[in-house]
């Protein structure tokens, strides 16, 4: 009898423990962030959003669909420019009616779209304070307000209003180190946000007529020539800002680029910064620029002084980009971080010299073994 009573008590204790664990998980702000990521990548939705940056507001329609494992999405400006961004499967198309240009990129079939996003893990807490700061109603929906506050000035913070019912962020604010919003994306009206909707294929057709537009695609021919002509050198970062580490190495083919572009992703677990390394295109006649040997043959880890006008920070929205020239290569760091962070990251990269013989095929084929889409083990 006593044994039975003990078992019963143990069972109730276990249930209570589990319930408190579940409750704790439900209140864990990181859990909400994961739910949000999951909702954004797996749910169908179609809504009108207002994008704010400074005193500028632009209305956007954002459509996202996952059907048979294939992601389709479309962002279209409802004001002015009529620009559109459409992904259907492995193809990305950017329509710039104001520039009468369409840029099309192909993504490899195994693009890690859903698998390599930053995760709000324990390591993130070393550099961010992640808290639930409130529960408020937004458009009559209960939302959790989660703040992600940086602990230093190398990164931005975020405030997210996450719908409790669906996990969808109804409002996303990007803030500077002092918590002041820099930009935000907010649902313009809940009645025009359809979640889990059945979205037809026709929703992913561009609104603009592209007749007479210039269409830019990756130039595989030019890329192949460059790939044949040069060796693949290795690049690594000497010292990244605190918390940032390399999470992925890949090669990209890009419209207009003269060859495959090295793409290295660094992340602190929340923010990502991409580093693009390519043959320097701007500084013809500046020594090593454009020379495969001069660019990749060096084993010294010294930064070539950037020619005048070849280095600089640019910004739009919350995105900062910094370009410099390192050993004849143009190195550009870009990400949703402060300008000083992209500058530090771009300047951290050095060539470690040649690694393997040049590939014999163009950039559409697999990049050199060991360099393509390699995820680094997480610390």
């Amino acid at each position: 009898m006593l044994k039975k009573r003990n078992s019963s008590a143990l069972a109730w204790g276990f249930v209570a423990l589990m319930m408190s664990a579940v409750a704790a998980a439900a209140d864990d702000p990181r859990e909400w962030l994961e739910r949000m990521n999951n909702a954004l990548t797996t749910r169908n939705y179609d809504g009108t959003f207002a994008y704010w940056q400074g005193d500028k507001v632009e209305m956007l329609r954002i459509i996202h669909r996952v059907k048979n494992g294939q992601v389709s999405e479309r962002l279209v400006s409802l004001d002015g420019s009529g620009r559109e961004f459409i992904r259907t499967g492995d193809e990305l198309a950017c329509y710039f009616p104001d520039q009468r240009t369409v840029r099309i990129e192909k993504r490899p079939a195994n693009s890690p779209l859903l698998g390599n996003f930053p995760r709000f893990d324990q390591a993130s807490t070393a550099f961010y304070d992640i808290k639930q700061v409130g529960r408020v109603k937004l458009y009559r929906r209960d939302t959790r307000v989660i703040s992600v506050t940086p602990k230093d000035s190398f990164r931005y913070g975020y405030k997210l209003w996450i719908d409790e019912g669906t996990g969808m962020p109804l409002r996303t604010q990007l803030c500077d180190a002092r918590g002041r919003p820099i930009e935000q994306l907010v649902v313009a009206e809940d009645r025009v946000l359809r979640i889990n909707a059945d979205i037809p294929d026709s929703a992913f057709l561009p609104e603009v007529s592209t007749e007479g537009f210039r269409v830019l695609r990756p130039d595989t021919g030019a890329g192949a020539m460059v790939a044949d002509a040069r060796s693949w050198d290795r690049w690594d970062a000497a010292q990244l800002p605190p918390g940032f580490r390399i999470t992925l190495r890949a090669f990209q083919t890009m419209p207009g680029a003269s060859g495959p572009v090295r793409h290295i992703v660094t992340s602190d677990g929340v923010a990502s910064v991409s580093v693009f390394i390519e043959v320097q295109q701007m500084a013809r006649g500046s020594g090593a620029a454009g020379s495969p040997e001069g660019a990749s043959g060096s084993t010294t880890a010294q930064n070539s002084p950037a020619p005048a006008g070849q280095e600089g920070v640019t910004q739009f929205g919350s995105t900062s980009a910094f370009s410099t020239v390192v050993e004849g290569r143009k190195v550009t760091a870009l990400g949703e971080v402060p300008p000083e962070t992209v500058r530090a990251i771009a300047n951290a990269f050095r060539s470690l010299g040649q690694q393997q013989p040049a590939p014999t095929a163009g950039p559409r084929t697999a990049p050199p073994s060991g360099l393509s889409l390699q995820s680094q083990p997480r610390r």
Binding site: T41, L75, F117, G317
Partner: protein
Amino acid sequence: MNEELDSQLSAMFDDELPEDQCQLLARRLSRDDALKARWRRYAVIGAAVRAGRADGQPTVRLETNLASRVSAVLSTEPALTGVPAAETRKTAGMRWWHPVVGGAIAAGVAAMSVLWIRGDAPVGVGAQLADNAAASVAVSGLRAEVAADTSAPDSFVVPTNVQRNRIVPTAELANYVVAHSEYSAPAFRRNLISALIASNEGTAGVVDESDDANVVESPAENVEEEK
């Protein structure tokens, strides 16, 4: 848009435009795309602002320089620190939205919504209709929400020292942004692409380098191939 028209639109929002002028403006709104875009912005700004202020200071009047006025007033607001719903309830519905709920402006807004849709109906292509529907819903929704939903979110604080210089995403930079967006967290990725789409031509500028720092300014298609 000329200043007078802009001023009239602001006055309409403030319920300070005579009804006959409201009607005229509503008609004009039905056929003026620039004015429609401005109205839509007002509606959105209002949606964000109407959460109200917790400090009880005088309310803002929307005038010609709407955005900067809103920014100036809102920048004095405290940042969000988990404001309880009950507290926001007290302050919901700024004075300048009250006229939208009742009075002459309501008639003006209603007339405008009808005219707006009617005026665009012949154009009728999908996104345009969606656009109009969204905008008109937003306009009518504002009235309904002020009355029914008093637990609005905190307001948007526009920083005073945000770097206003933006660059036009050049071909090359656009490529980088698109490639990078694949590896951003989903929520931030949306912001990233939104910024790309929303970037305005004509606002180019380099942030902290010399003016001739044009490393991302050159169209990729003009680049010579490596020999």
